[in-house]
């Protein structure tokens, strides 16, 4: 038998073996919801949800309904509110605390990328701003009920934007490390917070995955899974595993929103939104936390970003990373929460 025939023979056998291997397996589909990532409110009807601005959002509220409303805005774009759940303790102090996964994020309803892009420069207004309007209207029970926004990272950017746009609707802002407020600063922060060394394990863990899993533009289950793999570790920003105590029981499985994240970065790059627009109209005091362990957020950056607010209190939270002021229960209980309560009482 010639070499050519031998190669053809063994090549055919190998292909057949691979086909048989595939055929013998009971198929599990990577793009089937519930396999690699949890189901959203669209598939799991037991999840707490509300309908707002044409979207079904995963949302939970705690505390007396008529008391001061504290609405928590998570980071991202595309993360979820699980890591903010330590703030639930404010409900025990008499406040009404609302958590929700933003549109396309966490366990909330997904939308195709084009859906966001079609709004062009108005995308953030039509989605995040209008959704937040809907959230406030849904949970506000009386006209004189105070509304406070508590935002972290991307959520702090959204909170700032909303307060600048509707200064009379918001009574206070509690912010944690907004990356930037003008798009160029956002871009610079994102670049600095992801500036891994070319030869590092962290970078290779992120990039190597692309040869195992690729998803089409709107394959939410696949892309969300990949984003979850990537966002779980970043030594630059100093985050460690969230410590939520028993609060974690209120949100057992989390999920990222890759499509909304990609869409917002695309929109940001194209239209360069200014999240600080109108914030000079906002009179109430702002409390601004930043961490000691986030290498991409030094004192100078915190001072630069917070300089936009007219009346602010800048507080450094030592020994934690980007999310630590909220997601580390010891830090929250002993440091952040007392400062927050002091602030709320001052309003």
């Amino acid at each position: 038998m010639s070499y050519k025939n031998q190669i053809l023979k063994w090549g055919s056998i190998s292909c057949l073996a691979l086909c048989l291997l595939s055929a013998c397996q009971k198929g599990k589909y990577i793009n089937e919801t519930g396999n690699l990532v949890p189901k959203t409110v669209m598939e799991d009807l037991a999840l707490p949800s509300i309908n707002v601005n044409g979207a079904k959002l995963h949302a939970q509220a705690f505390g007396p309904e008529d008391s001061t409303l504290i609405i928590c805005l998570h980071g991202g774009p595309g993360a979820n509110f699980r890591y903010l759940l330590n703030c639930k303790s404010l409900a025990d102090k008499g406040y009404r605390v609302v958590f929700y996964d933003q549109r396309g994020s966490g366990l909330s309803q997904r939308f195709p990328k084009e859906w966001y892009l079609n709004y062009g420069a108005d995308a953030i207004d039509k989605t995040f701003d209008d959704d937040l309007n809907g959230i406030i209207n849904h949970y506000k029970t009386k006209s004189n009920q105070k509304v406070i926004l508590l935002g972290h990272s991307w959520g702090a950017m959204l909170a700032t934007r909303y307060a600048g746009k509707y200064p009379n609707k918001i009574n206070g802002l509690i912010l944690g490390e907004p990356g930037g407020l003008k798009w160029d600063d956002v871009f610079k922060y994102v670049r600095n917070s992801r500036s891994f060394k070319l030869w590092s394990e962290a970078l290779n863990d992120a990039t190597y995955l692309d040869q195992f899993i690729t998803g089409n533009e709107n394959d939410h289950n696949i892309l969300d899974y990949k984003m979850g793999q990537l966002s779980s570790s970043n030594t630059i920003i100093g985050d460690i595993k969230s410590n939520l105590g028993v609060n974690g029981n209120y949100y057992k499985s989390g999920r990222d929103g890759a499509v909304i994240s990609a869409a917002m970065f695309e929109i940001g790059k194209k239209y360069k939104p200014d999240f600080s627009e109108g914030i000079s109209q906002f009179q109430p005091k702002v409390i601004f936390f930043y961490s000691g362990n986030n290498k991409a957020y030094p004192d100078s950056w915190a001072e630069k970003i917070s300089s936009t607010y007219l009346n602010k209190k800048l507080i450094k939270v030592n020994a934690v990373g980007h999310s630590g002021m909220f997601d580390q229960i010891d830090t929250w209980t002993s440091f952040t929460e007392p400062k927050v309560i002091e602030y709320l009482k001052s309003l």
């Binding site: 595939s22 990532v37 970078l203 190597y208 195992f212 690729t214 998803g215 969230s242 989390g254």
Partner: protein, 223 residues
């Protein structure tokens, strides 16, 4: 037949115990060559490096069998690697223009603190270019397909992200990327220095990859 078995065994052994990214050949410099050893360094979904082996069959249609093993850099050794076993066939040779194809079976592993992935896939590439005994330049187009993948998640993933994650083999195909670019090289009496560079895009031509380029510098020793 016995010779084939020996070659196959050697190929498998080298795939298991050495590492290489790709083996780029100058088809016009393979006269009197039986064995090709290769070392290389480059960007291939990561900064990676490796070794490889090629065996040229004594056939009318030039065929080189290859075993390739590559590993990305990083502090944890052998948590990620890729092996390829297959071959390259020269399809035509006309007035210094040479066309060839390569077909590889791929086995790759990727491990993080959240998941261990094992994948069987394929990598097919077509190459056409201008070849002289001392140098060559060619265009290459290929498709790297992840056909079937095993997912095994860590307790950390279950604790921190999704408690009910379903482990096991996932199919049909979990991923695929096209790549296209150039390859060039300078050949010496018993060695080649080669360079491949180009772009990688996902199979839907839309979703961007984190590292959308590849570049690979290789050194072949022929004997």
């Amino acid at each position: 037949m016995k010779k084939i078995k020996n070659v196959g065994l050697l190929v498998i052994l080298i795939a298991q115990y050495s590492n290489t990214n790709a083996q780029t050949l100058n088809w016009k410099a393979l006269d009197n060559t039986k064995h090709i050893l290769n070392v290389n360094l480059g960007l291939d979904y990561s900064l990676s490096y490796g070794l490889g082996y090629g065996y040229k069959l004594n056939t009318k249609l030039p065929i080189v069998l290859n075993a390739i093993f590559s590993m990305p850099s990083g502090k944890t050794m052998f948590d990620d690697f890729k092996t390829k076993i297959g071959g390259q066939v020269r399809l035509f040779n006309k007035s210094n223009f040479v066309g060839s194809v390569s077909i590889f079976g791929v086995y790759r592993k990727h491990q993080t603190d959240l998941v261990t992935l094992q994948n069987f896939g394929s990598d097919m590439k077509g190459i056409i270019g201008f070849y002289k005994p001392k140098w060559f330049v060619a265009a290459e187009v290929g498709f790297d397909k992840a056909i079937v993948t095993n997912f095994k998640h860590s307790q950390k993933y279950k604790d921190e992200i999704y408690v009910n994650v379903v482990d096991g083999w996932y199919e049909p195909a979990t991923g695929g990327n096209f790549y296209y670019g150039l390859q060039t090289g300078k050949s010496f009496k018993r060695a080649d220095i080669t360079l491949n560079l180009g772009r990688v895009i996902s199979q839907d031509f839309k979703t961007p990859l984190l590292l959308p380029y590849y570049i690979n510098l290789g050194y072949n020793i022929r004997f």
